[in-house]
Symmetry: C2
Subunit: 302 residues, 2 copies
């Protein structure tokens, strides 16, 4: 199966499960639920739930039992985008070619949409898969994902990113830029991608040693994802990207490209790809889905 | 024991557990962790964790095993205050006599503080009490609390409150004011207070029938808490309140007092107090702690 066919099939499953885990836009409070649906159904690639599904499959087969739980990751990812776009943070008016939530609705609604999506994401993980026999794994899943997006994870990375660009006061004093950059990336985007892979392993009942390998694969994938993002921002066209390229350099952002240049960033990405392929081979044998998605992330064009 | 002595003793336990469940302000990312501690250690009454502890005690005795878990409620309550105070929402600059988080730090930090406290609150519930034997109850606890603060709970109430005051567009069309008011209160403050009581019962392993009685007690307490708040806003002095009184009427807020007047609101409160005392008697026998706290909530002066 080509990676495109694999991702399309997985994505269709995720879209249909997302419909099931979000409150109906027609239910009270309507405007909030409409805005949540607007934010979630905006054409995302659904990378995080797909990663959870593929990791689950590598251990336990058909990921149908975790269809809903995997969506918790997408709700949490969407919350982080909605809040990052707020005027007080990145002040973005466009995302995936559409008005951001605070522009399409209003700022107060955007704050509450983020709050509600974060809550719903962890609620979905606490509730699914249904059945008492899954309860211990559900508790473990919530703990792992909440830790990954906590102040010591994703939110911490967002905080340091804003400090590093001078958007807010404070900062990490004398730490060298390369160290700050890796810390920002590992946390801001890496933690959630890494725990997406781990979630599949947790729900599949993987052993501690197996979980550790999945976590290492997810860690490399998270970093590769961000380096590819930095390279795209510096090299891709607006049409391919669906947003304005070159924003990072213009904003004085610390990125792999502004720090190391495009060529060295590409070399780092190639090294991570090799590492991921090795780990994927250990986890599912050669030529499996995890290797496919590792290549996709390293070579993505949007 | 007087209610004051009971609350002081319980509160001391909560304060010390709160120190244990928050990341150290000196740890990365420092500014974020400092701001989280600033928000949490601001002299709150800790009503929600205390309710969970008293409910636990009524079923299972000494609440020491749930010391950390109960704090999850306070972190979530604090998140809701930090976000409600934001310029785009209630735009409050003072809370409990101190600058609100977005004033003392900045708006971006306040958004992230709220996000991080919500996450930490649910993380604490997923993690505590420690030990595999508690895992099923932890999953149930996260589910109950997340549902209570979801878009169909607390955040939904905040959304409708803002719609009702015209702060944002939208609204519930032709519903009569009395119905909207009760819906706002039941959700905005009631859901979290109610689930605080339920959490104690869940973690204590109460039967479904018992849990239902705790939930009814918590529901009445949540509504009583808000009616008392409305009466205080209309009648108390700024010194007693620690914030500006009369704000509700000035802002055109829908409250029990603006809708029914002070006397009728006091009568409703007295009825709720009677209902709570009856339920508390069933749950813990006459003269127990839950009855004490019910009286405290109905007669609070700040």
């Amino acid at each position: 199966m080509s990676v495109q066919a694999l991702l399309a099939a997985e994505r269709a499953q995720v879209e249909s499960a997302l419909e099931r885990v979000l409150p109906a836009p027609s239910s009270w409070p309507q405007r909030l639920h409409e805005a949540m649906a607007y934010a979630v159904f905006a054409g995302g690639k659904r990378v995080r739930p797909i990663l959870a599904r593929l990791a689950y499959r590598a251990v336990a087969g058909d990921p149908e039992p975790i269809a809903e739980a995997a969506c918790g990751l997408e709700l949490i990812h969407t919350y982080s985008l909605v809040h990052d776009d707020l005027p007080a943070l990145d002040n973005d008016v466009l995302r995936r070619g559409r008005a951001t939530v605070h522009v399409a609705f209003d700022e107060a609604t955007a704050v509450l949409v983020g709050d509600a999506l974060l809550t719903q994401g962890l609620l979905v993980l606490a509730r699914h898969p249904l059945g008492d026999e899954w309860a211990p794994r559900r508790a473990e899943a919530v703990e792992a994902v909440a830790r990954a997006v906590s102040s010591e994870g994703m939110v911490g990375g967002q905080m340091e990113d804003m400090e590093a660009t001078g958007q807010i006061a404070g900062g990490a004093g004398g730490d060298p830029p390369a160290q700050r950059l890796e810390r920002i990336h590992r946390h801001k985007t890496g933690c959630l991608l890494q725990v997406s892979v781990e979630l599949g392993a947790i729900l599949a009942g993987a052993s501690a040693a197996e979980r550790d390998r999945f976590a290492r694969f997810g860690g490399a994938l998270g970093l590769a994802f961000q380096i590819a993002d930095d390279i795209l921002d510096a090299t891709a066209s607006a049409a391919a990207l669906g947003k304005s390229p070159g924003k990072d350099a213009a904003a004085g952002k610390l990125t792999y490209v502004t720090l190391y240049g495009v060529d060295a960033s590409r070399r780092q990405l190639a090294e991570l790809e090799e590492e991921m392929e090795g780990l994927a081979g250990e986890l599912e044998g050669p030529g499996g889905s995890l290797a496919l998605i590792a290549g996709f992330v390293a070579h993505r064009t949007s």
